[in-house]
Structures are given as C-alpha cells and as structure tokens.
Subunit: 236 residues, 2 copies
Amino acid sequence: MQQNKFHSIYQHLVQDIKNGIYASGDTLPSENELAQSFSTSRETVRKALNRLSQHGYIQKVRGKGSIVLDMQKFDFPVSGLVSFKELSESMEEKPATTVHELTLTNPSAMMQEAMEIGEEQLVWNVIRSRAFQRESIILDKDVLLYSKIPKLSREICEDSIYSYIEHDLGLTISFAKKEITVEEPTQEDESLLDLDGFSNIVVIKNFVYLEDATLFQYTESRHRPDKFRFVDFARR
Amino acid sequence: MQQNKFHSIYQHLVQDIKNGIYASGDTLPSENELAQSFSTSRETVRKALNRLSQHGYIQKVRGKGSIVLDMQKFDFPVSGLVSFKELSESMEEKPATTVHELTLTNPSAMMQEAMEIGEEQLVWNVIRSRAFQRESIILDKDVLLYSKIPKLSREICEDSIYSYIEHDLGLTISFAKKEITVEEPTQEDESLLDLDGFSNIVVIKNFVYLEDATLFQYTESRHRPDKFRFVDFARR
DNA sequence: GAGTGGTCTAGACCACCAC
DNA sequence: TGGTGGTCTAGACCACTCA
C-alpha cells in the first residue's frame, strides 16, 4: 500500500464531491456504510471524514450525517484566523461601541445572493463603529436573519451580538468563512471612522453558519490599517 | 464524567505547559506513559495530543516524541492561510521574478533576535520582486540559514526556493508562523515596486520551521494592496 | 426505536530514531 | 534493539435526530 488508507479514502471522497456525485446539501453515506464499502474499520473512515471536515468539504451533524458544503469559492486549504477586533476582546482595553443603524428590512439584492435567501426574508441591519482611546478605528456592518433572531436591541448591539446569540438565544455557531481584502475607503468609512488621511481600509468579510449548515449572518469588519494586525499559525 | 476524557487530558497538558512543568524544547512523556498515568487508552491520549499540536502547543516527531513549542507570542488558536502569492502559484499565470540581491552575510541584530541565532551564523539574504502583467506588485525578502542551505544560485531564486529546499535538498518544512500587518511603504518598496500612488503595503511575515522544530527561514512578503486578497475558512 | 455520529478501548503492526 | 509516534482493527456504549 503506497498511501495511508484513510488518506486514499479522503481523496476518493474529495473526487466524488468535485465530480458532483455528492452535491452540496447532500449527506454522504453513513460511516458504517462507508466502512463497509471501503472494506475498512469505522475509525479509519472517521479519520478521512475529519480531514474532509477540516478542509471545508463537509460538515458533520450528530444524528443526521455528513453534509456536503458548497466549496465553489473556497477550494483551497485554509483555516483559523484572529483579527484585531477578536484580539481586543481578550485584552483589558475594551473598545467603545457606537450604534449608527439598527433596522429591520428586506435584504438588498447583493445580500439575497450572498446569503442565499429570498426577498421576503426579513433581515436585521446593524452598523457599529468601535473606538479605542477615543479614536474610531473599526466599522462593523452586520446582516442577520430575522427568522433566527426575533429580538435585537441597541443595548445588545453595544455589548456583543455574539454572546447574546450564543448565551441568551442558545444558538450554536458552527463555523465561519472569512475573506480579507484591502480596499479604498467609501464615503461611509470616511464619515464614521477617524481615517486621519489613511487611504486604505482592511476589510474582513465573515459568513457565519449555524450547526445545521445554514448561513445566518454576514459580517463586514472595516479596519483602519495602522491598528490592524493578524497573527497566524499555519501548519503545512 | 462532565467532559470528554480526551478534552480533559488536553486541558491538563495545556495547564502543565503554561505552568512551566514542561518547558519549551522539552519532550512530553510518551503516549504509552501518558495513557498509563491518565488511566486511558493510547488512542485517547493521541486525540488530546493531536489537539495540542493543532493549537500550536507541541510538535510531534516520529521516533522521538512530542516537543513543546514556544507559545509566548502565539497563545491564541489560529491556523492556515493563503496569500495572493501562494494562490498565484497554483494559477496559470506565473509571475516574473527579478532577483535584486543574493548575498551571504552575518545576520543583523534584528535577525539574530528573530531567528534566535548568533552573530557568527552566516545567513543568505535574498530580495526579489514579482511582476504580473509587467507590473511589479510583490517584494519578497528572505533570510535563510547557511548551515542548512550550503548552495543558492540566482537560477534557484528566480524559480522557487521552496521547491529547491524540499525536492533537491530533501529538507522537510514542518510549519510556519505568520503575521500580517499593513504598513507605510519604505524607500525600498517605492524603488522596487510599481506603487502607482498606493500609500500602504500589506506585509506578511513568515517564520518557517523544519521538522526538528528549528527556525531556519524568515520571509517577508510585501504586497501592493490592490492585488492582495486572503480567503480563510475558520472553524470555531 | 432504528440510525446517525462521538467517544473509548485493548490490542496489533509498522516506520523511524537513538543508543 | 528498544522506544517512539503513525496507522489500523473490531468491537462497545453513548447522545442525538427523525420517523
């Protein structure tokens, strides 16, 4: 045997997904079925499935199965990341949050596409700025599914939407896709942030999924570049 | 039992590392010893050790043991990442590389500290720019340990240093720590890149380690922000 | 209640490393 | 040659989902 058994099973399933044998949204055969059809033990199948999960091909749900995810835009191996905003939450200096918008509307065409929802699905729109030492540095724009979050208040937004979702509503956030770009500031950026002559904005886009693999939140975090910093620990 | 057994073992070992019971560079007790002292099976210990490894606490080396890593600067959970440069390597359009410097010198004081080496350790200094469609967009600055890489030529640098290291020298790169910031361009950036009025540079710093957990390369990749893009798939 | 994934066990053989 | 981690097996019990 040239390769590890679990690795060849992994590659086999990746090919099946890429060839459309399992479409996005489908569930894979159960671990017992896979063990039988690959003539191996269940633990070995589980190693292969865990790698598929780590690489973003599937999401495992207890009692249901392994759901195939949409990999179109994310077909290379990447993983965790910590932003300045997330870092600051574990530091002593808390940012001061100002809520600029908190509305309940129909989603824009762009959001309908990004979140794969219809026009009739109501969404919360939240815009907040974060200030450190009286300098407004981060602009956070959130879109959340009203069907999952029936109530949202200014107080909640000034604190932390995440802790409200997880602790008070009891929803379990499963994973997030992130995208980072550097862009020119918009008029909105210039009016709500202390840009101080900076001509670039670091934009972190988050697509947040629940345990059942449904997208329920889109977050855009726009950072002034001088206070921006990522640290990453990459395993090859 | 409140928690998973493997998770409580994981937490126990994390505490031991943070409390200095195992110092950076030490090896943990073997998997068989740990299985015995936690009254569990070896596979369960391995689950805990794999999580320690994923979170950057240890590095497992076959035949030797689990080496404790220095977590001082990296004590939060993060992982993989793909830069525009790394992406472009898997695309059809290859960048044109220009080698601006290829010298063998004593390391600067900054490099001595960053790479934890002495003044007498010779290092290669490589500076290259990468052009796409005749626009110079990325500046790559590399510092490599001469003791690991006795020969280095202009031809190798114009191709790929990585493939030379891995395929020709047979060295195995184990993992890399990355840091991303946005900075003002230096004079060097302005002279070697086509900045075109851009007043920011996206800087990706890489600390590359070999299998025996020794740091052997420092890479700094300086991108023009318009052609910069990260995509990340983060599991919580 | 049948089926799913999550955890755990006690063994086995292997490749690799150091002495 | 003995010890290390890497892989694999054939079972077991559990928590969870869904009809």
